[in-house]
Amino acid sequence: MKCGTDDGTKDVSRATVRQVRWFDPRARQWSSVPLIVNGRILRDRIAHAAILISEHVPCCIVRFLHLQGKGPAAIPWSSGQRGESVIILGGEDFDCDPRPARFNMIWRKMKATFSGSGQEGQGDAVRRGGKRSTTMESGGRPNNEQHRKSPEVTDEKLSTPNYGTKGGDQDEKQARQADAQEAPPCVPPSANTDVSKYLRHIEEPKTKIARIETASAENANRGAQSLEQLKNRLESSERRRQRVELEFGKAMAECEKLSRHNIALREYIDLTRQRQPIYTDDEYVARIERLNEYTKSWIATLSKSQQTANVQQDMSTLLPALDQNNYCRTFSSVLQKNPNMLECILESRPRRSSLIRQFIWCELSEVIFRPFCFGLTDDVSDLLSRTMRTIRGLGEFPDVWCVDQGLTR
């Protein structure tokens, strides 16, 4: 945890500490406590902030400024320059001194500082000490390295303020010594040093131009590299697109193939699916009877009309037709042997109609209803009928069927 003023690196020479702000790395957010209420600095607030922080986060570094018009302009709060006071309460993250005695000592001093002296006291403390902070790193802490590795403190110096200790223990002294060694000495501002600093910042034009050129070259180089990277990415994208297109084409071809296969499978499944009767028996009976009635009425109507003049003509028409039909062939042969019989039939109008109906239905039965399916030739139809009988025989009576057919299983 870090705490600082909200002034940051602004000109704080004439500013006061308005608030204590800290960043909580666990919550990843900044928090703050205002220190000025109605234009007055509340010292209690400072202490309160420290307590609040230490309560919330056991490992904390409370840091705030005592500025009061002291110190040069533009002092960043975290720079460790003069005017800054730092209180380290300790904490496990930075492996600050874990000894409770030391922690309590610092805490006591901090409380004494903020409650005992006042704002002026603080200012006095700053004035007295100038740079009067001590780093805790040299304050007897055994694991220095760990502290340095911590990301929160590597870029900052940890220092503690001089709280005007009179006795001062050994740790405090060591800390001050180490701080004096590590931190840059706080030199009071003088004209010479300021001018030299200022002059040091004035660069020669050539140097500046060279620097600009170098920067331009670096920028150009960086741009070329970026362009090259973009080009490579574009090429790889193009290659990837082509590869995807190829794969897509293959996938589509495979899909079409599977689709065709799927259609074939669906047809096969349709054929093998358990089928149910399409029409009921009554529907078939109705249709068959309708055909019978239609034939009956039609022939009856025909028979009422003008008929042939003589029976001989009827015989010459009917006999060859009957002879061509398998059903009627026997009947035809009987009629040919007994011409009187045919004459008797033809002379009677009802019987003549019956004979014509017989002829019609003999033809319809033989051509339409006898075959396995209307439209097949006789050979194919017979073959299918035999196949059906074989399938049924082998399926239901295999032993009997094989014996009957002279086969062995």
């Binding site: 054929l271 093998t272 358990q274 089928r275 149910q276 009767p277 399409i278 028996d281 078939y284 009976v285 249709r287 068959i288 309708r290 055909l291 019978n292 239609y294 034939t295 039609w298 025909l302 028979s303 009309s305 003008q306 008929q307 042939t308 003509q313 009827d314 028409t317 009917l318 037709a321 059903y327 026997t330 009987v334 039939i345 019987r351 019956s354 004979l355 014509i356 109906r357 017989q358 002829f359 019609i360 239905w361 003999c362 033809e363 319809l364 039965s365 051509v367 339409i368 209803f369 006898r370 396995f372 399916c373 209307f374 439209g375 097949l376 299918l384 059906m388 399938i391 049924r392 239901e396």
Partner: protein, 127 residues
């Protein structure tokens, strides 16, 4: 029956295109005889076409059905059997003319002999 139905449906799909020409051929043959017997009638062919169309439609339905249909003309001289024959004549004689075939269904039960379920009896004249 399943095989019969599958075969019937498959074959019907193939032969349906041929059926029209075969129907016309049958109508032609029957029409020739009937025109000889009824020379004055002009509408024989038209009515014959209706009859043949209905008959073929019925046959196609039977071919697609999950059943084995039977259509038999009763042979001349067979003894009258009221189970599957129907007549207006009286007596118990022999079949002289069969004017309409018997239509029935072959009923198959596993392990038993086929039986015929008569749908429409044959129309016969007995002597």
């Amino acid at each position: 029956m399943l095989v019969r139905q599958a075969l019937g449906q498959g074959i019907l799909k193939e032969v349906k295109s041929r059926q029209e020409s075969l129907k016309r051929e049958l109508e032609e043959r029957l029409g020739t005889v009937l025109s000889g017997l009824f020379p004055e009638r002009k509408n024989v062919k038209k009515q014959l076409k209706m009859l043949v169309d209905d008959a073929v439609e019925l046959a196609n339905m039977m071919a697609e059905e999950k059943a084995l249909f039977l259509s038999e003309m009763i042979p001349i001289g067979e003894r009258f059997n009221p189970v599957h024959m129907d007549t207006y004549d009286e007596g118990d004689g022999h079949v002289q003319l069969c004017m309409f075939p018997v239509f029935g269904l072959v009923v198959r039960s596993e392990g038993t002999v086929d039986t015929i379920k008569v749908l429409v009896k044959a129309n016969v004249e007995i002597s």
